[in-house]
């Protein structure tokens, strides 16, 4: 089985986000980038499938720091690693990259495309459906377990309220991974150093084929809400103050 995993680099949310001058993008110059967490799970699921039944895993990374993440993917067991060039200093739009992913999948007769169910730049999880549509093959999003049996896949999808659904589908397929069957493994520094010698392929993007349908007019940073108040650790005084606060808000009689 040939598996393609998509690894997207996203701004590190622990950093301080600042808006670009035109107020329509994040200023990416001073940001640190990290691998999208869901994509990390997709990679783990691909490696687990490889370990369970044999597969050839190709990791395709997009964005700043792709090289570092691809070395990590190689250290974890990816057989081929490719950096897909993307527009510098711009967010990774699923709509833009879907055609490139689909083209790579087609060129290498990929049986299974895995990506994270969403990313902070694609909170609606559009990548898997777009790629599925372009390849004209089934797609499922929000998976938390994938088992391969020849060309058949059993895929468990997480739904709300603890409900899980299991699908059976034939490859080729595109899956948006919510969590891998096992938490992503740790790769030691010595393995990373070894993997730093892995040759990294390069791929140029395909035109998306879509007209631009809408534009961002304005972007706003989250507004700092009210902060918490610590009432102390003495039960009596805490109770008094709590009653006082509730009364002040008209929620209790003093």
């Amino acid at each position: 089985m040939n598996i393609l995993v998509v690894l997207r680099m996203i701004p590190d949310s622990a950093g301080e986000l600042q808006l670009a001058e035109d107020g329509r993008a994040i200023d990416r110059e001073w940001l640190d980038f990290q691998l999208n967490d869901f994509d990390d799970h997709a990679l783990e699921e691909a490696i687990l499938l490889k370990e369970a039944g044999g597969a050839k895993v190709m990791a395709v990374a997009i964005g700043e720091g792709a090289k570092r993440v691809l070395q990590m993917a190689a250290a974890r067991g990816a057989d081929e690693v490719v950096a897909l060039q993307s527009e510098e200093d711009a967010m990774i739009s699923s709509r833009e990259i879907a055609a490139s992913i689909a083209a790579m999948a087609r060129a290498r007769s990929v049986d299974l495309v895995l990506c994270g169910v969403q990313s902070s730049e694609d909170v609606f999880g559009q990548l898997a459906p777009y790629v599925g549509a372009l390849l004209d093959c089934p797609h499922v999003s929000g998976t938390n377990r994938i088992v391969a049996n020849g060309a058949m896949l059993r895929v468990t999808q997480e739904r709300g309220a603890g409900v899980a659904v299991t699908y059976e589908l034939a490859t080729p397929a595109v899956l948006g991974v919510q969590t891998a069957s096992k938490a992503p493994r740790y790769v030691s520094g010595s393995k990373l150093r070894e993997a730093s010698k892995t040759p990294i392929g390069r791929a140029t993007p395909e035109p998306s084929g879509f007209e631009r349908s809408a534009e961002i007019i304005t972007l706003r940073l989250p507004v700092q809400g009210g902060s918490g108040e610590i009432l102390g650790d003495n039960a009596d005084t805490v109770a008094d103050r709590l009653v006082g606060i509730l009364a002040a808000k008209g929620l209790a009689r003093n």
């Binding site: 622990a14 950093g15 301080e16 640190d32 520094g189 393995k191 150093r193």
Partner: protein, 650 residues
Amino acid sequence: MASTLPLWILVVAALVLTSWRARRYAVSLARAPAAARFDQPMRRLEGVMVAIGLHRKMLRKPLSGVLHAIIFVSFFVLFTATIDAFGSRLFPGFSLGVIGGETWIAALQDIFSVLMLVGVGLALYQRYVLRPARFEGSNGKDAAIIYVLIVLIVVSLLLEAAARIEGGADGSWRPVASAVAGLLGRAGISAPAAEEVFYWIHVGAILAFLVYIPGSKHRHMFLAAPNIYFRNLEPRGLAPAVPKQREAPGVDSLGMFDWKQQLDLLSCTECGRCQAVCPAYAAGLPLSPKTLITDMRDALAAPTALPLVGGVIADETLWACTTCRACMEACPVEIEHLPKIIDMRRHLVDEGRVSPGLQDALSNLTRLGNSMGKPSKMRARWTKELGFPVKDAREEPVDVLWFVGDYASYDPRVQEITRKVAELLTAAGVDFGILFDAERNSGNDVRRAGEEGLFETLAQSNIDEINACRFNRIMTTDPHSLNALKNDYRHFGAAFEVLHYTALLAELIADGKLDLHVADGARVTYHDPCYLGRYNGGFDAPRALIRSAGYTLHDMPRCRENSFCCGAGGGRIWQGDDGVTERPSENRIREALSLGDVAYFVVACPKDKVMYTAATDALGATGKLKVVDIAELLVPRASQALDMPAVETT
């Protein structure tokens, strides 16, 4: 003499049997990888003299030290009796008589037979009446068998001499045996027959002892001295490098340990001094440094199908260690527990077998160079609230390059102290600078968590940045960084002059460059951080600072080399408290509270501020004891004096 041949047969049989019982160890040692422990013979010999001749570490526990010294000296004196017993019959005509075997040597044998019995008596009293907790997990049967054999050897020796005296021999040099002879006479025992019987009991017990030793902790009679001789002479803070010939970074079978590491296993006396000082053991975690060693020793003696890591030694056992080094400091035979733990952790890390907490921290360190997952650019954020700019050491030359460290830089509970240190340096007119976002975690605990590859990456990055700066000395806030920069970075050929901030501040005060408010002698206690004290000998500067600031130091019972770890080191701070019955930090705060007259618990390590503040909170002792960094006690005269809280003396 008619008994020569039977004795020869007995002796040869015993020697063959002994060698047979020791064969597995000998083969394993012979096949073990090399270890460079043959340098500096005089220094090595001197260490053996101090350790054995003076019983230095042994006497830290007075009763065991004294009783061991008695048994040890008696053994050497009575060895003359053994030479006599075997020599006289194996080689007819041999006698120690010419050098005083029947006069002064006889008198010494007579007296030391009694002393040996006194020594064994004290040992029995200690083991069966006092029952120190450190013997828990030791092999009691082994100890009992040895007591029986020693008593048998000594009593038969005395009785043999007594029977000889009763039969007419001169007893004037053997007062004890003469007294026993009187008793034998009254009991109507026939002298020549009894002498023969006691002789054979005596030699039989000695040979039984010999045959028994290879499978017993009493191997240490032969191995303690070599094990001390071949001890590690490298700086204590230098973790062992991964040998070039090793293919993977870690160790997952006993045969991969070099011969000295294997010799350690065979030298263990099961005294449990390591267990008694181990913070992980005290916390209820599944680690006793003693059983760590004896479990591996047993696996060396009787090969098992279990893997070493995750079988003979459980993963949790390895992760429990704080690398505080108290076990190695306590070991009278210089067993090296930590290199083994670190090597086995290296195997776990290489296999990806790490706890989620540790995985998070290591992943953050890989990605961002700090364990907290904070961006590098926020590393120097603490300087913003200072009233003065801090020099960028990458941009301009400085006298002191300050390596701030992760906790001091990022942790909001510690940043206040970091600023205090900056203010003190400024008040003393020190020309200093920092690396800003180019600093990375020093890798001290990364290395000790077994992540050698990541350690190398972090260390190399720091060394490159430091080498690009112009400075005279490096100062660190964190004792862990101090240790890495001073010791571990030698692996990369980096030789920096590195000081802890307590050493630099003590120097500034001694030079009259820092004028302080002097308190009125209020009593405080001080916690020696493992990586400052035990690892790097920094015991005195912090104490000098406390005195200079006008406080009276009331040390806790466990201080200096015997300091008790806070529980955060070696990567423990990144792991959960699962299985902990009493946090080491709380154990320590209880110790400070029991002093009864101190208001401040003074620390000199950013992690300690975090650990002990949490511990005093958890114990509800914030009203009785305040955790302060040493920098907080030092108030320049130009600033407002510190308001000392009132002490509740109990």
